[in-house]
């Protein structure tokens, strides 16, 4: 366990309590407004909003289809992301957008000297457990996002700005679910 910790965490004194040093990150309101403007640009230029889970779905569908094409075609979920064979993964709007997100995140990180090969976790949990829960959390999130037809970027942000009923309901439930579970997993973070 500590070996894993050594390999993954470049800064051994990494365990910090949940705190924030204001000068490291930008003002949340200002950043929020900037984010809103990016979203608005998407609306105004392309007529659609942001998203993330859709890109993952396209990727998964593409992989499944290349490994087991008939299975993918027969499954109406996968086939809805495959578009009848004339569709390429890198022609998918969301896939390109998510690639941009990675580039943008990297750029901002570089400029702020925040690139670090590390594992973010609370002080009371080990790296191994943290990674395990990261995977589980991701899995739940992936499943829930497909049920709800979007994740926080697509449904909450985009749908929220457009005053979509389902999106607002979704957003409320996300906060509710997270707050309800927070106590039980506090070991992970604080």
């Amino acid at each position: 366990m500590s070996v894993l910790s050594d390999i993954l965490v470049s800064d051994k004194h990494h365990s910090e309590a949940v705190s924030h040093s204001p000068k490291a990150y930008s003002n949340p309101y200002v950043t929020g407004v900037a984010l809103g403007l990016v979203l608005l640009a998407a609306f105004v230029l392309v007529g659609r909003g942001l998203g993330a889970s859709g890109a993952v779905s396209s990727a998964v569908a593409t992989v499944v289809s290349s490994v087991a094409p008939e299975h993918a075609k027969a499954n109406s979920f996968y086939s809805s992301y495959l578009g009848g064979g004339t569709f390429g993964l890198f022609k998918d709007w969301l896939v390109l957008e998510v690639l941009g997100v990675m580039v943008g995140g990297f750029l901002s990180g570089i400029l702020a000297h925040r690139i670090k090969r590390t594992v973010e976790k609370g002080p009371r949990i080990s790296v191994r457990n943290r990674l395990f829960f990261a995977f589980i959390g991701g899995g739940l999130m992936g499943f829930g996002a497909k049920l709800a037809r979007g994740c926080t970027s697509g449904q909450a942000l985009t749908g929220g700005a457009l005053l979509n009923l389902g999106s607002w309901a979704f957003m409320m439930m996300v906060f509710a679910g997270a707050y309800a579970t927070a106590y039980f997993v506090r070991r992970l973070w604080i």
Partner: protein, 199 residues
């Protein structure tokens, strides 16, 4: 009325894809600036110590909402051409719950995990892979849950439409609610900080 430009034929698919990438860069940049590439900061929201998730999200929503509203009002933007998903109340509610649980267990959402892995966080990468796994499980189980997936269908319905209020009024209400949330968040953070100091 010329906006959204793409829907009025001002440019084609290739440019649209380039825009996707560029817009994504803006998105990712803003997310990282806000500290959303860091799971501890994201999770702090749910322990009331750092409410930036709420602040960033609602600031973004209010900004874009105002933009759409005023551009629509001035006849520059055709709101009806912006894509929105139909509302499927039941799966969206349950999906939201599951997502919230996953959020606080894993510490990210798909978008922020992309930012996180781009800045070197291993947990972000693992999370992102987890999302793919979750989608895969969903895909495999899809034939079984298909009926649930399309239940509670309400069509394309908005808050003003559903509650029979004017669009402008809902814009006002959402903005005021957000402002209230911001004030409550600032107050909450200060209280938690005092509590921590007091210890």
């Amino acid at each position: 009325m010329n906006f959204p430009l793409f829907k009025f034929g001002f440019f084609g698919d290739e440019v649209s894809l380039v825009l996707a990438f560029v817009i994504g860069i803006g998105f990712g940049f803003a997310l990282e600036r806000a500290g959303f590439g860091n799971a501890r900061l994201l999770a702090a929201q749910f322990y009331f110590t750092d409410m930036r998730v709420l602040k960033v999200m609602f600031s973004a929503i209010v900004t874009a909402m105002f933009g759409v509203y005023f551009f629509g009002l001035f006849g520059i933007l055709d709101i009806s051409l912006i894509y929105t998903t139909d509302t499927f109340m039941l799966p969206q509610v349950i999906g939201g719950l599951i997502l919230g649980i996953g959020f606080v267990i894993g510490g990210y959402c798909p978008g922020t995990s992309a930012v996180s892995l781009a800045t070197g966080r291993i947990d972000g990468l693992v999370y992102f892979i987890g999302v793919a796994a979750g989608v895969f499980v969903f895909g495999e189980l899809f034939p079984l849950i298909e009926n649930f997936f399309v239940s509670g269908s309400m069509g394309n319905v908005s808050l003003p439409g559903y509650f029979n209020l004017s669009y402008g009024f809902v814009v006002f209400a959402v903005a005021i609610m957000a402002l209230g949330a911001f004030i409550a968040a600032e107050w909450g953070e200060k209280k938690m900080a005092k509590k921590a100091e007091g210890k």
